[in-house]
Symmetry: C2
Subunit: 192 residues, 2 copies
DNA sequence: CTCGATTGTCTAGCGATGCTAGGATCGAAT
DNA sequence: ATTCGATCCTAGCATCGCTAGACAATCGAG
């Protein structure tokens, strides 16, 4: 069985290489530059190899999205773990979220803007996506206020952060006032 | 001069036809379906004619975006004009905004998601875009609260609406709870 | 009224895209 | 050693945005 196991390991390694390379290329030159040819060339295989791992480009984007969602959940949890007080925890969450979006724009796009063929807000939603939402809910649920469903509150707060993140990166909002925007959002939305 | 004027009229008419057709096609089948060939076929001219009006596909998207921004500004003003009380005005604005995004998804994408080659938040920003922001500012500036810059407040409120609009349409948020989301945003963010 | 010149439009084609069919190659098992 | 199946690559399809160059219609000058 050792031969087969080795092959599977190699195959899994190549799949990781594809995802990592796609992500790297996207961060460097944008998703438009991530063509199947360029990607194939970078991993030093021919195009059709990509299609033995993924159904198509969409699924590759989806794989990057799932990886990114896992990291984002971890980043949010790490940023909020050591902070005292619900209000400050939420502020730390907001900064961590926007920081992640600013540092990994291509990954953020893969998660929230591009079509990666993923299901959202359903039963068959992949675990990393559910968990990313759960990470937000953990801190945001505390400050929903009386009579407001924590899930609904989390959705709204998240949507606000998402709006700030995307509009900032698209050049619709000048980036230098991010911090006062965060302050405003936290002060008004969070009930402590 | 009459001959030349007639030609200019015809040319302007054809340009409007291009924009209207692109918009229609985008709303019907999505922006991916708006190819230069299909667009040319629908207006019953050959492809190169498009390039005598616009530099390329980007500029066509930009033209749809400007048209849409004008309409959105009008929709927001119409929805808020006859409403008494700042709080209710803001709620009406939020509903009108989300309604516009839901009813004109392709146009909304052209304005805020796609690359239409337009400048934002700068001096050379096209007038319709500035005016759309101004329309938001008119109602939102009233409820910024003490010590908060109306422009900054408008940006944040707008970003929140944008987040709800995009996440809803992308399937990230279940659409049936839009109204309580609006209530929450208005109640918490607006200071009356 | 005729005849170059200009303007306008179209046909044809370029390079690049996502994706796939079919043959070559290589390793494992008999 | 030979067969056979898995693996990979070459080559190609349809489509994309965009453009060059040919052709026709129109205009102004004589």
């Amino acid at each position: 069985m050792s031969v087969q196991e080795r092959k599977e390991r190699e195959r899994a390694g190549r799949e990781r290489l594809i995802v990592a390379t796609a992500r790297e290329l996207a961060e460097q030159q944008g998703w438009d530059a991530v063509t199947t040819r360029r990607l194939a060339e970078r991993i030093e295989y021919s195009q059709p190899v990509l299609y033995s791992h993924f159904r198509g480009k969409r699924e590759i984007i989806g794989a990057v999205a799932l990886q990114g969602a896992t990291e984002m959940a971890a980043a949010v949890r790490a940023a909020t773990a050591a902070v005292d007080g619900p209000r400050e925890r939420v502020a730390a969450l907001a900064r961590a979220y926007l920081d992640f979006a600013a540092r990994n724009p291509a990954v953020y796009d893969a998660i929230f803007q591009l079509d990666g063929g993923l299901a959202y807000a359903q039963e068959d939603t992949p675990e990393p996506l559910k968990d990313a939402f759960a990470a937000l809910l953990e801190s945001l649920g505390e400050v929903a206020g009386n009579g407001v469903d924590p899930g609904l509150f989390t959705e709204v707060f998240w949507a606000s952060l998402h709006g700030v993140a995307t509009l900032t990166r698209a050049g619709r909002l000048p980036p230098e006032y991010t911090e006062p925007r965060v302050e405003l959002l936290v002060d008004r939305l969070a009930v402590v």
